[in-house]
Each structure stands twice: as C-alpha cells, then as structure tokens.
C-alpha cells in the first residue's frame, strides 16, 4: 500500500499509464496486485499494445508510448532528488490518483459526493477510462 501512495509526486505518472491506450488491462490487476505496487513509480515508461489496427489510432497509441519514453528519459536525465526523508509524514496532495485506498476508510457523503475518508484525507471515487480510481480531494 505504501508503495502506491508513496509516488505522491508521481501521481501524474500513474495517470499517464492509465491514459495509455488500453491500459485498463494493467489497471485491472492493480487492486491488490503486485504489478502496480512494484511499478507504479515508473509507470510512464510502460507501453501497452494498441488494440486498433487503424493506422491513425495506432499512431496515436505509438505517440503516447513515445511520449512516455521521452518523459522517462527526461526524468532519468534529471539530477536525483534529495532523499525523501520527511516525505511519508504528510498527506498526499490534492489530485493524487490511486487505484487502491489505504486501509481504514469510511464513506463520507458531502455535497452529494460519496467521498472515502481515510484518516484526514478525502478521496473522491472516479472513473478514469474504465478503471475505478480514487483522487485525493479537498471537499
């Protein structure tokens, strides 16, 4: 669980994986699966096959994969960030996307939205493509 919540700064990266064409197959195993745990941090570098034989659609899928690789390379080229010594302490920032909730959450209805409240953090359930995700929110 920690590993999934850990890439707080990488929430957008996980989102990029989710947006790669047909990535639903990957996220299908995310809840409780080991793939997401091990690889969520580097998810942008993962490429997924196109399910379309249409040249234009496939080109889009390829472009997405290329962009993911470019991002991965750019990230690798950056100097390493300082060790996140104090990182685990704070709550994940608003907008962080996770596929699995931390333990001990309770549904809390606010303004017509069924949030999941986990400690002091509110998660809004949403559909990202055909995958259920939870987005850290400030109700």
């Amino acid at each position: 669980m920690n590993k999934i919540l850990k890439p707080v700064a990488h929430g957008a990266c996980l989102a990029a994986l989710l947006f790669v064409a047909d990535a639903q197959a990957i996220i299908g195993v995310a809840p409780g699966g080991s793939v997401a745990r091990r690889h969520a941090i580097v998810a942008t570098e993962t490429v997924v096959a196109s399910s379309s034989a249409n040249a234009s659609a496939a080109a889009t899928a390829n472009a997405n994969a290329a962009a993911a690789n470019a991002n991965a390379q750019a990230a690798a080229a950056k100097p390493p960030e300082p060790a996140p010594a104090a990182a685990p302490a704070g709550p994940p920032p608003v907008g962080t996307v996770v596929t699995t909730l931390p333990p001990g959450c309770a549904q809390t209805d606010l303004n017509g939205v069924a949030y999941q409240r986990c400690g002091s953090t509110y998660y809004k359930p949403s559909m990202m493509g055909s995958n259920l995700v939870f987005v850290v929110a400030q109700p």
Binding site: F19, D22, A25, V29, S51
Partner: protein
Amino acid sequence: MNNSMKRLSSWLWPALVAVAWPVAGHAQAGDIDPDALTLLRKSTDYLVATKQFSLVTDTTIEAVLPDGQKLQFGHRVAATVQRPNKMRAERVGELIAQTFYYDGKTLSLNLPQQGYYAKADVPPTLDGMLDVARDKLNVIAPGADLLYTNAYERLTEGLTSAFVVGKAVVAGATCDHIAFRNAEVDWQIWIQEGAQPVPRKFVVTSKRMPGSPQFASVMSDWQMAPTITDATFSFVPPKGAQRIDFMPVAPATSK
C-alpha cells in the same frame, strides 16, 4: 555433416517447410493482394449488414515494462450489438467485473462489485459513441475497429501490404488467415469460411513500440439472433449504488 546434425536437420525439415510454404507462395508480400482485400471486405460487409449479433471475445494485451519485461493481461467480454445504436458489453474476469450499457443516448458503466456506476451522454450512433468513448472518456473497446460501419475503410487506411497466409483453424472453425501491414502496426485477421464470414481472431502488433507488444482477440459464440430484452441495453442503477464521474481526459503526454 555429423550424425547428430543430420538428425537435427531431418527433424527440422517439416517445421521449416511448414513455415516457409505460405511465405514462399507470396514472394511479393510487400504488395497488396486483392484476394486479401476481397476476403476482408466480405467479412466487414457481412458484419455491417448484420443488424444484431452477440459474441464472446477473449482478449489478451501485452504491456512492456521499462526493463523490457513483457506482461500479458486477459479479459473475457460478452458483447451484444444492435445497429444502429445499442450495445452492451460485459467484462468479466478474476479481478474485474463491469458492464457497459449503450442505449442510443447514454453510455453507462456499472461496477457491481464496488457499488459504483458512471454515466455520460454520447452520440446517437454506435460509431459516434465509440469515438466519444475513446476520445472524451478514454474508454476503449478493444478491437472496436470491427464494429464501425466503415470498418473496411478504417482497417485498410494506409495499407502497405496485404496477403492471404492460408487456411487455419481457430477454435474449431476453418478460417482464412490474412496478414496486413501499415506504417504503425502489423495486423492479422482470421475470417470464418462459409456463409457467415465473421472474424474469429484479430491480432495487432505495435511494431514501433519498444518490445512490439501485441493485442489479440479470439471471437467465439457468434449469435446472429441473440436474445434481446428491454434490460439488455438499458441501465437501471442498483439500489444503493453511487454515481461517480468520468474524469476528463488529460493529454496523454502530460508528465
């Protein structure tokens, strides 16, 4: 040649012949064989003319991890289509259960295990719905190419090669196996012989992606007179289910 090499070569012979035979018959595989297009057209025309049908697809899709390791994921989808504007697709698997309903106005996605559903207004045609689902909702129907009314045009856009590989059997059905290439992907289709030329298998190789991952779909249990009721395409939220929103699609290149 020593004995063991002789044995090896005699053992290899049938395999090599089997592999080389269809290719040898198409020495100019870089060209577009009109027979391949005719077979494809027969299938796409048949599917477009079929007003309602149901089938089961077993799909696998590959992902390539950063270190090059390839993983394969699979899903079974039971789909029912009624042209021009109804569809139901039920995805089942060990870790996922979800049903899509398209009633001509709304696309609903129900997650019965989690108690959530999402809905979105979509265009009043199957083609329009598939486009909006993909572009605005990031909901991709695997192998959707075959469902469009212009399936033939979509599939043959930018073809650089097409040839008939030969006869093959897919899940007990004799098929024509055809191979195509365009600038982005290589793809293959297996079309059932006879009066119902439905696709039985569809494989797409993303040859420009690292590791050349593949998508494959095996289609079975084709029913041309499926049982359809009012409930087939209309979604009624289960009691207690929570409605949630589709997240807006962000550019795929955002970091």
